[in-house]
Structure formats: structure tokens, C-alpha cells
Symmetry: C2
Subunit: 352 residues, 2 copies
């Protein structure tokens, strides 16, 4: 067998932790005296919904802790940071299972959405709750004695509520069945991406690792957030851009944001830059499940030079975030610039 | 104006706390810079779903604390215990909003279920999450400095997960669209009622008050649970019994458990006591949306003497629970028998 590359190795080691967590959760339910069909159901819910994504959020807890420590992690540190990483993945699974119901989506990660699996249906709502519930069960059984246990709980609660707020404004701004571009604005787009994505995808994993590294200074958490929230915003703008301009063979899907009436960066920039005539066309074509309408939207996107504006936005974001990273005064036991550089370098000019 | 009765007064004082909590939650969202439509939506979600029930669970936190203290509560103690009571009501609202979607229910507390309100639909799923999220926001802002803060968090997490487990086994045991009485059993009925109802309705409010009263001894929590779980089970058996045998003018609704294929105490006792011929009839008539089928089920319930068996069950439960209450050794700063007597006396031989 060929040697594993570093990246594959890293992923395989992280992935190997999940079955242990699953076993622990199932054993808890067995201990409550639940019948076999309930155990199997919960097991299948965990397996179907928690792994199977890119796992970047989860793995970044481990990576960040390693950078903060400045040396390889002990077995125990690895396991505990990977457990926190899996809690981030469980939180995401809770959001995705329910988001797919709210959006009446068809597929997720190359398989049918959980609620569309035969026999599941609306039970998926309670299954989403149980994915969230699993987080607190795991945190309690592995971190209850740590001084920062309560900080982990507060952080998960706060991040969950922020994400729910982001989901709310997304849902009421861009319902698929009621198109009204007057509801859109770059300010709302920013709120949506920060609350719905940036907090849980970027700040949460780093802050979890910071607590494990023993960081207590609230100013350090504030500084991390002040870098990671713009970084997460930049990441989501890229996601919106690539939905329209990425190569399907790179991004792994054909973008549907225009068809789905998404309050994306592209349409908000176009709305701010277009002529009254272009606006009239956008009003008539955006969010329609029709490829001719979609093509007309894309024409206007080109006419107002979305690609040029994106290139400028990307350069500006990159420079701003780099400046924020340079502003970190590294002290022993404190933040390290490399934590943030690692994120930025993975993201800058990405095409997938 | 006529003097308020004690009961009305008690309810009015508890109810008056909710607008303060709502204001605090909305002000938090305002501080995040969210637009007016998001504020209004969240406000409406809170108002529509949190108050409006019987509030027994919430008020029992206050009552229990008062009994444990043995004297009237200070203004601050009243407020904080009522806040915990409202957190129990918020937890219930989170469960009910989502349960109504999963059960495709029509009305709740005399108004349309939230998901059936014009313009809400599946956004109700995220709204349910936000009702749960509100709990942790309120706990943090009022209890973060208390030594038992982390105990409150653990208790809410544990209770939430227990209720979700109860909901899971209920959902897979008695789906409305697939009738199979072989799935039912008294053992499963017991698991469903304990996990889905007893923990959050009976143990949670008392344990919250115990933490506020400064009780730390784990044995006291264990003893409270050992009384309140059978008490909650007895309460739910009554609920099932009254669904069939209660007077609609007392219980405020016409029971539909038989039509809805519910895994209720009545049918489980009937299944354990019936002849093969009666079983055949039950298989053909239980869970059908048909009043003739319902009448046949009720005939068998009478033939196997559900009312007599219920009277025996009630007497036996009453005596068992009374015995458990008598077993409490009252010590200063510890449990008080009156906490449990207060619950039992409200429940014993209730007709509504
Ligand atoms: Mg979606
Ligand atoms: Mg969505
Ligand atoms: Mg996208
Ligand atoms: Mg229901
Ligand atoms: Mg139900
Ligand atoms: Mg009932």
C-alpha cells in the first residue's frame, strides 16, 4: 500500500475518532433501557448525518490546538480536541438536517437529504435535535472536570443562537416562494453570512482550541473573533461567487443560487450597481426556476462586472485580514499568527 | 374590582415576568444590528408559543422554592425562580412547536399550531430552535455568577436529551400512518411517558428550585427523582385515561388518542388482557380515523374493564408515591415532604 499523504492521514485519524463517540452515545441509550429499534434509529441518524462532509471545521480545532501548543499533541489532547471538532460537526449536522427540510432540498453530500429517506420524514426534526443533544452529552462526559467546561458550554450556546438568528434573517429575507428584491441589501447579506456561517464555521473551532490551550484573556478571544468573522465573511462571498463562476468540476456541483432566489453577494452587488432597466429585468428573472431567466440574470451580472468587482473585493479582503493578523502581538501561551495564516492561505484565491 | 383569588394572583404575578424576559431577548437581537422584520418575527414567535398554556410547570419552580425556603421569597428570589420557570415553559414550547409539525396537528391551546399560521410554515422549525436558544441566553445573563450555574446548564441539557429520546421512541412506536399493535407494550408506554413527559414536567422544575435553594447533595436529587418520575408516570396514565373517559367539559377537549393510533395506557392494558378475538378487532379498528372503529375499540376497553383496572392502578400509585414521600428524612436546608405532597394532592383523583 502506498504511504498515506499527510492530508489523508490527518483526515483518517480524525475520522477514526467518530465511531468511539458514536459508541459512547449508543451505550448511554442502551443504559436507559431503550429498545433495539430506538438504538438503531439513533445510530443511523448519527452515521448518516455527522460524517460525510469535508470535515474542515472539525479538523481545524485539532490543527489550531497544535499551532497554539507549538508541539505535537499527546494522545489525550488529540482525542479531546478531535471530540470538540466532532461537536462542531454535530452542530453543523443539526443545522443542515433542519435547513434541508426548511428549504425542501433534495440531496446533501451526494445522498438524499435525511428527511427524504424512506420512513424518516418529519422524524428528521427530532433527529436534528438529537444531533445537537449529543454535543452536550459528549462535552459533559469528557470535560466536566476541566476548569473551562462552562466556557465551552457558553460558547456552544452563543454560537448556536447566532446561527439560528442568521438562519431566521435568511429565511425571511429570501423565501423561495416570494421573490422581492427590495428585501435584499448588502447589509442584510453581511448579517446573514456572519451569523449563519462565520461564527460556527470559523470562530467556534478556534475559540474551542483556545480554551483547551488554557487561554483565558477575553481580549484574545475578542481579537480572534475580529479576524475570523471578516475571514468567514470573505469565505462566504467566495462561496456565493463560485456558485455562479466556479467550474462545476472544481466546486463539485452546479450552482443554483439564482434559481433559488438566494440573497447572494452577486445579486446584492448587481442591485447596487445596475441601471433602472437592468433592475426591471432582475425583478422579472431572479429566483425563477427557469434557465432562460437564469441566463438573463447572468448577462446583467457580467454587464455590471461582478467578476471585476469580486477580484477587487478579494484583494481588499485579503489585505485587510493580513493586516489584522500582523497586528497580533505573540506572547507565550497566547495567540499565534499562524492559526489565522493557516485559514487564510487555504482560502485565498480558492477555486473550489 | 373584586379581590383576586390566590390562584389568579399567583398566575398573574408569574405571567407578569414574561414580558421582561421577552424585552431582554429582543434587546439582545437589536444590539446585534438586526433589521426590524427579524425583531418582530422573534417577538411574535415568543408571544405566540411561550405563554398561553396552563403554566403549571413554570409556576411549580416558584412554589417549590418557596416550600424549600420555608418563608416568602424576596423580590429577587421570586424573579429568578420565575425566570427558571419560564425557561421550563420555553423548553416545552420548543417541544410543542416541533411536535405539532411532526404530528401534522391542527390546533394547540385553542389557536392554530404555529407552523400553520400564514407565512410561517417550515420556518417554525428554526423558531422552535430559537425558543430553546432563548433559555441559555436568559440563564447566562441571570445566573452566570451563581455557583450552581453549570448545574443548571447540565440539568437542562440532560432533560432536553431525555425528552428527545422519549419523542424518538414515541415517533417510531406509533406512527400515525402505520398501525401495528405488535409494536406496543406496557414497557414501551412506560419509557415513552417517563422520557417524553415526566423528566421535563416534574423532575426539572423541582431540581431547578433545589439548586436555587442551595441543595448540593446528589442523594437529595436522586431521592427527588425517585419520587417525581413515578409521579409523572401516574400523571400521564391519568392523561391517557381521561382522554377516553374524562368529560370533555372538564378536560377541555374531545380525546382523539384512539383515532390517532396513540400508544396509550388504555390500549396497552387492553392488549395485555384481551382474548384473541378481541385482539383481532383491535387490530382492525385501532388508529383508524373512523368513529365506528373508535366505538368498537371503546367496547373492548369496557369489556376488559379499563375503568376498574385504572381505579386499581390509581390507588396503588397513590399509595406507593405517598410511601416514597414519607421516606424523606427532613433536615434543615434539605428536601421537604410538602414539595411532593403539593404535586400529589393536585393530581390525585383529578378529573381534568
Ligand atoms: Mg439550504
Ligand atoms: Mg436555508
Ligand atoms: Mg453557496
Ligand atoms: Mg403531538
Ligand atoms: Mg407527537
Ligand atoms: Mg393525552
Amino acid at each position: 500500500m502506498a504511504a498515506l499523504t499527510n492530508g489523508q492521514d490527518r483526515r483518517a485519524r480524525f475520522t477514526a475518532v467518530f465511531p468511539k463517540l458514536q459508541k459512547e452515545l449508543i451505550e448511554f441509550v442502551i443504559a436507559q433501557g431503550f429498545p433495539q429499534e430506538a438504538l438503531s434509529w439513533f445510530q443511523r441518524n448519527l452515521e448518516y448525518n455527522a460524517p460525510g462532509g469535508k470535515l474542515n471545521r472539525g479538523m481545524s480545532v485539532v490543527d489550531t490546538l497544535e499551532i497554539l501548543r507549538g508541539e505535537p499533541l499527546s494522545e489525550e489532547e488529540y482525542f479531546k480536541s478531535a471530540l470538540l471538532g466532532w461537536c462542531v460537526e454535530l452542530l453543523q449536522a443539526f443545522f443542515l438536517v433542519s435547513d434541508d427540510i426548511m428549504d425542501t432540498s433534495i440531496t446533501r453530500r451526494g445522498q438524499p437529504c435525511w428527511y427524504r429517506v424512506e420512513g424518516v420524514g418529519m422524524i428528521a426534526i427530532n433527529d436534528a435535535f438529537m444531533l445537537e443533544g449529543a454535543i452536550y452529552h459528549l462535552l459533559k462526559s469528557h470535560f466536566r472536570k476541566d476548569s473551562y467546561y462552562v466556557d465551552l458550554l457558553d460558547l456552544f450556546h452563543e454560537t448556536t443562537f447566532q446561527t439560528e438568528l442568521g438562519q431566521l434573517i435568511d429565511l425571511i429575507t429570501a423565501p423561495e416562494d416570494h421573490i422581492d428584491l427590495d428585501r435584499f441589501s448588502l447589509r442584510k447579506h453581511q448579517l446573514i453570512v456572519i451569523y449563519k456561517t462565520a461564527y460556527y464555521s470559523f470562530y467556534l473551532p478556534v475559540a474551542l482550541a483556545m480554551y483547551m490551550a488554557g487561554i483565558q484573556d477575553q481580549a484574545a478571544f475578542k481579537q480572534a473573533q475580529d479576524i475570523l468573522i471578516p475571514l468567514g465573511e470573505y469565505f462566504q462571498v467566495q462561496d456565493d461567487y463560485l456558485d455562479c463562476y466556479g467550474a462545476p468540476e472544481f466546486i463539485g456541483k452546479i450552482g443554483t443560487d439564482i434559481l433559488d432566489n438566494k440573497c447572494s453577494w452577486n445579486v446584492n452587488v448587481a442591485l447596487a450597481a445596475c441601471t433602472p432597466e437592468q433592475r426591471r429585468v432582475l425583478d422579472e428573472t431572479y429566483g425563477r426556476k427557469d434557465s432562460i431567466c437564469e441566463a438573463k440574470v447572468k448577462e446583467i451580472f457580467l454587464a455590471v462586472d461582478i467578476p471585476g468587482k469580486y477580484a477587487a473585493y478579494e484583494q481588499q479582503s485579503y489585505e485587510k485580514i493580513n493586516g489584522l493578523i500582523d497586528g497580533i502581538a505573540e506572547t507565550p501561551g497566547g495567540l499565534k499568527r499562524d492559526v489565522f495564516r493557516a485559514f487564510l492561505s487555504k482560502i485565498y484565491k480558492r477555486t473550489k
